[in-house]
Structures are given as structure tokens and as C-alpha cells.
Symmetry: C2
Subunit: 234 residues, 2 copies
């Protein structure tokens, strides 16, 4: 019996660049507020607003834009000119149109795995925005299923891998976020294949579960097939 | 062979109140801008912004909030005080917390149909917000599947009813929006059971397909079982 029959892939910063566009937008936001506060202070207040709003907005660019506006009002104690808030709306909309740049080795790997394993894209964020990126990536046809979820917990992975495949025990989850992709997938009983990305949102940082027998780490997606082969051979 | 084996249900204003909370928020928005423009003009400009932003934001409260902010800046030609924009953020967040009030006959009907048909909730909007409402409605357990989609087209209904059940020809879609629930479901080959709601968003208005053999109309969900029985008996 093959030990793994299904592979889940995170999308943002696993299949394509994402965080870099948020960083550029945040840089732009800091510039817009440059006359009111120091850049570091602006970023810290923005992160506080994002955390505070997570239970209202969930993940994604629209919530990020609303948090930027809130931060701008707070930092300036209501003195920010509406014109600048209009520019924040603009940079939020630009972020929603950012180009989709695939990461190295992604397409060749998906192509090789397609047909060998059940491939599932498992991502969180704005439904509408994630569908746009998947369509633009040209990678949609490699996946047997797409699950856009509001939260990536062990329960999520159990539900997805049990519903579509042979359960989490016979699945691997591949992603750049230890907190969302790796730790909960391993907790659900799956393999967790960590592909670090140089830029990862601070709210996604946790310690790598290096002691877990089902934890693996690779440098880029080109190394995934080797890891899967080693699990099968073991 | 039973003619129908699966039933799709829209959520907002089919299972629970929704539009009335948007209307209250819009009233509040008009009051906030009361010193700058007439209420009717504010609503017209807001609707224009919502239409214009649909391709960026999709459906849902976060996009609605961003469109309110944009409208406030436009109408006041950038003169709106940031304090009022802060209040717009507040009313948007309140909207995201509105109570979930089930419509009459919904629970008894779902209870009766559960186990007799495959029941699928098919709704669009913010993933995060729709999941919150479903959880609070207490109706989640009656459904065999939940599909939160970015667009409700004939393709969507074909995909959902083919993937989960015996295809659109053996399915019925129940909802209050002719444009999103009824017309595309009938185009996909399903029955469309229209349950008008006194409040329906203007962007959802189209003519009822009264000539279509698979079009049905009921006054409230309590009449659904009678309609299904009549189709089965025919």
C-alpha cells in the first residue's frame, strides 16, 4: 500500500509570490503617512490593527486595506486628509491586481505529480482573490480539487483529506507557513513538508516541529518528489 | 426514479435575514454624510461604487465597507473628516456582527427534507462571514455540503450538482435572487424555486423566467415540500 495518496499544497508563497506584494504596499502606506509618523511605528500599529481585526475580517487584502485605513486615522488622531485615505484605497486595489509570479520548480513538480497523487490546493484568504490568482497562475488544471478555507486547523486538514482522499494519515501537506500548513497538518496525522519562503507574515511564525516524525523540510518545490520517494521507499 | 435527489439552498434572505442589515447600515451611512449631500444622491453614488468595485472586491461586507469609504471621499470631494471615515469602519464592523435571524418555516423544512434529499448550501460572499452566519444559524447540521462560491453561474450549478449529486437535471435550487439562484440554475438544467424576499439588492434584479418549465415560485419555505411532492408526482 502506498503510504501517501494525496498531497495538499498551500498557495501564497508556496506556489506563487504573495508576501512581497504586501510588503511593497506597506512601504507605500508608510510613505503616504511619512509626515505623521516613523515607518517602524506605522508598521507596528498596522500589525496591531490587523491582529485586532482578524476576528472580523479574516485573512486577505480587503481586510488589510480596511486595517490600513484604520491605522491611518489612529496614527494621525483623525487628522489624516481624506485624499490620502483615497490613495490607501487605490494601493489596496492595486494589491488585488498584482501579477501572479510562480515560484521556481512549481510547474514541473505539479506536472510530474499530477496523476500520481490526488493534488489539492488548500488556501485561506479572500475567496474571490484566491480564485483570481489561481486562474492567472495557469496551474488550476494540475489540481484535482481546490479548497479555499477560512482557517487552516487540524480539523480543516482532517475534513479535507478524509473527504477527498484516504484520510490525513495517507496525505502530505506542503507549504511555507509552519503555523497554518505544517503544524496543524502534522497534528491531523499527515506529513508536513515545510518549504520556507524568505518573506513570511509575522503572524504565521511559530517554531518548526523538528522532533515530529512526519516533519520534512525542503529548500524549494523541486525537492518535493525526492522527499515523497523517500517516504514511499521507507 | 425520483426526479429530484438534491436541493441547493441560497443562504442570505432565503434562510436568514441579510439585506435588512445592509439597508440599516446604508441608512446610517446616509446620516453620517447628511451635511454633505441628499440621501438619495448618496445611495446612488454608493451603488455606482459597488458596481465599479465588483471586479475587485467581489460580494460581501468588506467590499461594501470599502465602497462606502470611497463614496464618502468622492461625494465630499475629499473634504470628509477622517473621524467620519472611522465611523464608517465601525458600522461596517457592526454589520459583520449582525445577529442571524432565521426566516419563517426554514428549520422545520430543512428538518423534514434532511435525509430525503442531498441538501447543499450554495452561497456567495465573504467566506469568513458566511461561515460565521452558518455557524450562528444553527442550521449547519441539516446540510450535507456547503459551497461558498465567488459567482453563481450556470457553470457553478453544473459543477456543484454534478460533483455532489446526480447532476443539475435531478436537482432544484431554492433562493430569493432570480439573477443568482433561479435563472442560472434553470440554465444549468435544474429546477429553480423562487422564494421572493421583500428586500433584495437591486443588483440582483432580473425578470422572472415564468415561461421556463422548471421555474416554480413559492411565498415562503413552508411551501417547498408541496412543490417537491408535485414534481415527484407528475
Amino acid at each position: 500500500m502506498r503510504p501517501i495518496t494525496a498531497i495538499g499544497f498551500d498557495a501564497d508563497d508556496t506556489l506563487w509570490q504573495n508576501e512581497q506584494y504586501y510588503r511593497l504596499t506597506e512601504e507605500h502606506f508608510r510613505t503616504l503617512l511619512g509626515e505623521f509618523a516613523e515607518g517602524e511605528h506605522i508598521s507596528a500599529r498596522l500589525l496591531e490593527a490587523e491582529k485586532r481585526n482578524l476576528s472580523y475580517y479574516g485573512f486577505g487584502i480587503k481586510g488589510f486595506t480596511l486595517s490600513m485605513i484604520e491605522t491611518a486615522i489612529e496614527i494621525t488622531e483623525g487628522e489624516i486628509p481624506a485624499r490620502i485615505i483615497g490613495e490607501i484605497l487605490d494601493i489596496g486595489r492595486e494589491l488585488l491586481r498584482h501579477p501572479v509570479e510562480r515560484l521556481p520548480h512549481v510547474e514541473e513538480t505539479l506536472q510530474a505529480l499530477n496523476g500520481q497523487y490526488l493534488l489539492v490546493l488548500i488556501t485561506k484568504g479572500d475567496l474571490f482573490d484566491q480564485e483570481r490568482k489561481l486562474a492567472q497562475s495557469g496551474l488550476g488544471d494540475y489540481f484535482d480539487a481546490v479548497e479555499i478555507v477560512s482557517e487552516k486547523s487540524a480539523t480543516t486538514y482532517r475534513r479535507v483529506f478524509s473527504g477527498l482522499a484516504d484520510g490525513p494519515e495517507r496525505a502530505a501537506m506542503v507549504g511555507n507557513s509552519l503555523k497554518s500548513d505544517i503544524v496543524p497538518a502534522i497534528a491531523a496525522g499527515a506529513y508536513g513538508v515545510f518549504v520556507p519562503h524568505a518573506l513570511t507574515w509575522v503572524l504565521e511564525h511559530v517554531e518548526p516541529p523538528t522532533e515530529a516524525p512526519r516533519f520534512r523540510q525542503i529548500d524549494h518545490l523541486g525537492e518535493l518528489i525526492g522527499v515523497l520517494d523517500a517516504i514511499t521507499a521507507a
